[in-house]
């Protein structure tokens, strides 16, 4: 059968038996779950045994692409990783969430599809370090003894030299020493510039899988090339003429933005991208001349410098570079190092606990030594490597309450940004992210600020919020339930924001760039038309949004099966407290507010949760889908999951 948009195959690799199997993509599954995490989560609900240890051979890693990835649709470079993640999400260490990581790519996704595969499913555990080579000619489990232990940048370079294509690099996904040593907040890297799979590096490390290489030239065919080209070109021009369009990521305002601009030596983006959100910065003189940092979140060096009281960007880049090269999540490492340092200073931790490390706040060498302890699991680092719950148990602190750093934790992971601070960095009093705080509470994995929630990075008006919501493809009745003349219901809006954002992921289009650059892509009718033209599977905007809702519910089902319910959608206690940090941008009171600047109490947030579940058609008390909702979404075969709780 000829496939359009899709590559047409799913690759199954069992590292236990070294069996490699190619399975044609089931078009019924493709039509129902579209692609990306839709198909990835469907594979998991069919194959993942509930209750397993995420670091056991039974866990399943699913790498996925979407049907628009690798085309000229702006921002169509997004790939996905579905698995059971390695961070303990409960005090007893028995609960772990199943979710999606979305990540950018240059060659990885495009070459995966050109090798002939929409998804790669990996099970088992290799008897020795290996990497997977996936090409259109063959699939091979290769020996990785020579690259085991090497950092993410070096491994990427070696593999690209070894498997170079005719017109450029092969695609690469790699883990660093942190993943190999099962540090639970380790992550993968794709094509050198894209963080890929926060909390999944250890899952790969446990399988002794160091990397995946992709390369091929099968070609991604389009069902109706003429129609596809016409609508894509029209959208490209619409984006170019949009006043918000910018080809590079904003580097921030004020002193930090100026400094980052001066130090910028390059930008990188994803395949198909009309805007590049990764930037590379290098220290130009002095002691740290030549030290560089590359990534997608330019505020990180500034966060590092201020939180850890480092002297300058030279030190911040050095520390950041070390975390990245080891394949550690920078944000979790930063938060955890600060907590441990604070507890050391207070005498909760002794010098023996720290392996003789002398406390020196603001000292780069002290922090570098602490990173070594985490990655190599020594002294306090061995406990840190196990995640927030084990660490806080050792320290006698509740992981989900404030410990003085302003870090909110939900389902065992620290949020990438704090909803109390983030909006106020850009607009005093009100935020540009109407649902971010709520989104991070209700999702299976508290994702990026922007993923799976309605998010806008520009200062938008009430009218803009309403316009964006209309463009999600919702009905007038639904719109009327959300909006009054001058107010919107955050809980109800979050439901549709989550579904719409899921649609972007199903297709393989970037949700990030939509928010700050490619606003015209927030257009469900256009996305439905692009999908129809690319694949030949006609779909209405309403049905596409419904597919987003279906997959959102599917992810929830996987987590309900793991024991999650409303009790886990817990409001981080720090969200109810004022944040007290020395950052100039955070001066004054910083309580969690709604989009209109109204301070939120616990009761307000609980009410917000009630309306969110109600709009989702879920059981409000349990916070899980009802059988009626599952039947409506054609997921009735999984109803026993919710009926058993």
């Amino acid at each position: 059968m000829e496939y359009y948009g899709y590559a047409g195959n799913i690759l199954h690799v069992d590292l236990n038996t070294r069996q490699i199997r190619r399975e044609p993509l089931d078009t019924k599954v493709a039509r129902k779950f579209i692609g990306g995490p839709g198909i990835g989560l469907k594979i998991l609900i069919d194959t993942l045994k509930p209750g397993i240890d995420p670091l056991s051979p039974e866990n399943v890693l699913v790498f996925g692409t979407g049907p628009l990835l690798g085309t000229l649709v702006p921002g169509s470079g997004k790939c996905y990783l579905n698995t059971k993640y390695s961070m303990p999400a409960s005090k007893n260490g028995k609960k772990y969430f199943v979710s999606t990581s979305m990540f950018g790519s240059n060659r990885f996704g495009v070459m995966m599809k050109n090798a002939g595969y929409d998804h790669i499913v990996i099970t088992g555990c290799a008897d020795k370090p290996c990497y997977l080579k996936v090409t259109d000619e063959d699939v091979e489990i290769c020996d990785a003894i020579d690259i085991w232990g090497k950092d993410v940048y070096e491994v990427g370079r070696i593999l690209r030299e070894r498997h170079r294509g005719k017109t450029g690099n092969c695609g690469t996904w790699v883990i660093g020493p942190a993943g190999e040593n099962l540090v639970r907040f380790s992550m993968g890297w794709t094509d050198d510039w894209h963080n890929a799979g926060r909390f999944a590096g250890a899952v790969s490390g446990a399988k002794r899988l160091k990397a995946i290489v992709t390369l091929g030239n099968k070609g991604i065919k389009i069902a109706d090339g003429k129609r596809f080209t016409k609508i894509v070109e029209k959208k490209r021009k619409e984006i170019q003429s949009n006043p918000n369009y910018r080809a590079t990521a904003p580097l921030g305002k004020g002193k930090t933005g100026t400094l980052l601009t001066e130090l910028m030596v390059g930008i990188r983006g994803c395949s198909g991208g009309m805007c590049a959100c990764k930037s590379i910065h290098e220290i130009k003189d002095g002691k740290y001349k030549g030290v560089w940092f590359g990534g997608s979140f330019p505020a990180i060096p500034s966060m590092l410098q201020m939180q850890l009281q480092l002297k300058d960007y030279g030190e911040a880049f050095t520390l950041l570079g070390r975390m990245n090269s080891y394949g550690l999540c920078v944000v979790t490492t930063l938060n955890m190092m600060w907590l441990v340092t604070q507890q050391y200073e207070r005498g909760v931790l002794s010098r023996d606990d720290m392996g003789g490390l002398e406390l020196k706040i603001g000292d780069l060498d002290y922090y570098l030594a602490l990173i070594e302890k985490i990655v190599h699991r020594q002294d306090i680092g061995a406990i840190m490597a196990e995640g927030w719950y084990p660490l806080c148990e050792r320290l006698g602190i509740d992981a989900s309450t404030d410990y003085g750093t302003g870090c909110a934790i939900t389902k065992g992971i620290d949020l990438l940004v704090d909803a109390r601070i983030w909006p106020s960095l850009f607009k005093q009093g009100t935020g540009f992210s109407p649902c971010m705080g709520l989104g991070s509470i209700v999702h299976a994995k508290a994702k990026h600020t922007h993923s799976a929630t309605y998010w806008a990075s520009n200062e938008i008006s009430f009218g803009d919020v309403k316009r964006d919501t209309e463009k999600m493809g919702i009905t007038k009745e639904e719109l009327d339930r959300i909006f009054t003349e001058d107010y919107f219901d955050t809980g109800r809006l979050e439901k549709y924001g989550g579904d719409a954002e899921t649609v972007y992921n199903l297709l393989g289009t970037c949700d990030t760039s939509i928010h700050w650059a490619n606003d015209p892509l927030r257009d469900m009718p256009w996305l439905a038309e692009a999908y129809s033209a690319a694949t030949g599977f006609d779909i209405t905007p309403r049905d596409l949004l419904r597919a987003g809702e279906r997959v959102f519910n599917l992810e929830k089902l996987l987590n309900v099966r793991e024991g999650f319910n409303r009790g886990d959608d817990r409001i981080p206690p720090v969200y109810l407290q004022n944040i007290e940090t020395p950052l100039p941008a955070r001066e004054g009171d910083r309580y969690l507010t709604d989009w209109f600047g109204r301070r939120l109490s616990r009761e307000d947030l609980e009410t917000m949760l009630d309306t969110y579940y109600e709009e989702r058609g879920w059981d409000i008390q349990k916070g899980v889908p009802t059988k009626t909702k599952l039947t409506e979404l054609e997921l009735e075969q999984f109803a026993d999951i919710v009926e058993s709780i």
Binding site: L72, K218, K221, G269
Partner: protein
Amino acid sequence: MGKENISTDAEKCTGCMRCQLICSFTYTGAFNPEKSCIVINPPDEICFTDECREGCSLCTRHCEFGAITRLKAG
């Protein structure tokens, strides 16, 4: 090889591959970077294969970052 009507600046290349995508889609009917006529390896290299069509500059129209630009005649 270089092209007379096209200027390249590999340091500006973001690796988006839009040039390779439009090239391969136009001439092979599928999105297939390995069958395009452009070799990219940022920040070191952008060049064209021997199969590159004389006078075609589709890639310049799809580069948003100034890495591949069309030179004005004369």
